[in-house]
């Protein structure tokens, strides 16, 4: 399972939208995964692990309902260094990209959670529809329509913010 730790953290981070809450969810999920690993009979450990991460995150969100979490990408929590180490020669272009990136991430973070998780699994984990269906315990048809809606909302919000 350890090779999938980054995937697990990434999903937890996007679901919880807060690094500390994501770390807690990750720990909890890994312990659960370890406990139930003996009963794992599937062929896709990554999807199985992310399903546990998701269930743990949903449990945590239910516990913390009403408590506001900080969105994943705000102006302040993005390190300035990331802007400086960009491969672009032109610092202005690099800065522009970095700003766009922050905006895009904020838009993803603002998506409803069921759309957000579907989009993150597809775009960042490059999960197939089948894997997303497994990890989110959702029929493939629903995965497809959620993905569609997520992309629609993202495109509309990006257009509203003047993103290319």
């Amino acid at each position: 399972m350890l090779p999938h730790l980054d995937a697990a953290y990434n999903l937890a981070r996007w679901l919880m939208r807060d690094p500390e809450a994501a770390a807690d969810v990750l720990q909890e999920a890994m312990v659960r995964a370890l406990t139930y690993f003996a009963s794992f009979k599937g062929v896709n450990p990554r999807a199985w692990l992310l399903q546990i991460v998701r269930n743990t995150a949903y449990g945590s969100m239910a516990l913390n309902r009403g408590v506001e979490t900080v969105p994943i990408a705000t102006e302040s929590d993005e390190p300035v260094a990331a802007e400086l180490v960009s491969g672009d020669d032109d610092p202005e272009v690099a800065l522009l990209r970095s700003r766009e990136s922050r905006q895009v991430r904020a838009l993803i973070a603002a998506l409803p959670v069921e759309l957000r998780e579907t989009l993150v699994l597809r775009e960042f984990e490059e999960f197939s529809y089948k894997e997303i269906a497994e990890a989110t315990q959702t029929p493939i048809g629903t995965v497809m329509s959620r993905l569609w809606r997520a992309r629609q909302l993202l495109a509309q919000a990006a257009a509203a913010e003047g993103l290319p």
């Binding site: 399972m1 990434n10 690094p19 690993f37 003996a38 569609w148 992309r151 909302l153 993202l154 990006a158």
Partner: protein, 263 residues
């Protein structure tokens, strides 16, 4: 395009194509449809724009401190992965194995370890040995020759391997011999002797010292722990010995001491 009703029932196929979910025949059929459907052409253009927006977004990799916390937590949790009910303090291993509880327990331990080492991080000899030990714990892999008699196990290796490994039994000292098997480590066939300590399996790998690469010679008396397994190594009588098990360090040391002093 509206948000909930795409406008053409094929737009989800347009999306599926971009997500690499269509086979050639489906893609060809979609292409034919797209020629006559402006909704699907527009959908494709918009999906490509959205994808461009997300391209290059950095991945949220696990920060080192979070990784360290997770590892510490898992280490702490490993004993809990094994239900206490299956760890009676004073039952002989034969009773456990006879009742089938021992097997379940062994499987739970093996699963816990397999969980941690789905992929070995380094490719050195110690990792190979631990990985081999874990593989051997899977059902049906433990012994090629099942015998508690050293005079059966030792001859079994004759003709299967180009050296004659020393075989000793320490049943009286609480480390009964269970059998042996042939393994392949460090680019050569090696003898693996299987011992049992209570519910724990101990694998002892033996091969001639001459076959060991130079960097190992310096570790002629080393020990360590990897992925929750204790590992020890020594050389004697021209042979390399590597022992790996999930028994406690002290018990493994006892085992090594017994081996070294036994005739």
């Amino acid at each position: 395009m509206s948000e909930h009703t795409p406008g053409c029932d094929k737009v989800l196929l347009v999306q599926a194509e971009l997500d690499g979910e269509l086979d050639a025949a489906q893609a060809a059929a979609l292409e034919t449809h797209r020629q006559i459907c402006p909704i699907c052409r527009a959908a494709q253009a918009e999906l490509l724009r959205t994808r461009g927006l997300l391209r290059g977004e950095p991945y949220e990799a696990t920060p080192d401190d979070v990784r360290a916390r997770v590892m510490a937590r898992l280490r702490q949790a490993v004993p809990q992965a094994v239900p206490p009910a299956t760890r009676p303090p004073r039952r002989s291993w034969s009773t456990l194995w006879g009742s089938g509880i021992g097997f379940g327990l062994g499987a739970a331990c093996a699963a816990a370890i397999a969980f941690l080492v789905v992929l070995p991080q380094r490719n050195d000899l110690v990792d190979q040995i631990v990985a081999d030990h874990i593989r051997a714990l899977q059902p049906g892999h433990l012994e090629d020759v099942v015998s508690t008699d050293q005079h059966t196990v030792k001859p079994w290796f004759d003709g299967r391997i180009d050296f004659s490994p020393p075989v000793k039994d320490f049943a009286a000292e609480g480390f009964p011999l269970k059998g042996g098997r042939l393994d392949y480590l460090d680019h050569r066939p090696v003898a693996a002797l299987v011992y049992q300590r209570d519910k724990h399996i101990i694998d002892l790998y033996v091969w001639p010292a001459g076959g060991a690469p130079a960097h190992l010679a310096s570790e002629s008396n080393s020990q360590g722990a990897i992925q929750g397994y204790n590992v020890a190594h020594w050389s004697a009588d021209g042979m390399n010995f590597w022992v790996v098990s999930d028994v406690e360090r002290a018990q493994l040391d006892d085992f090594v001491a017994l081996w070294k002093k036994a005739p």
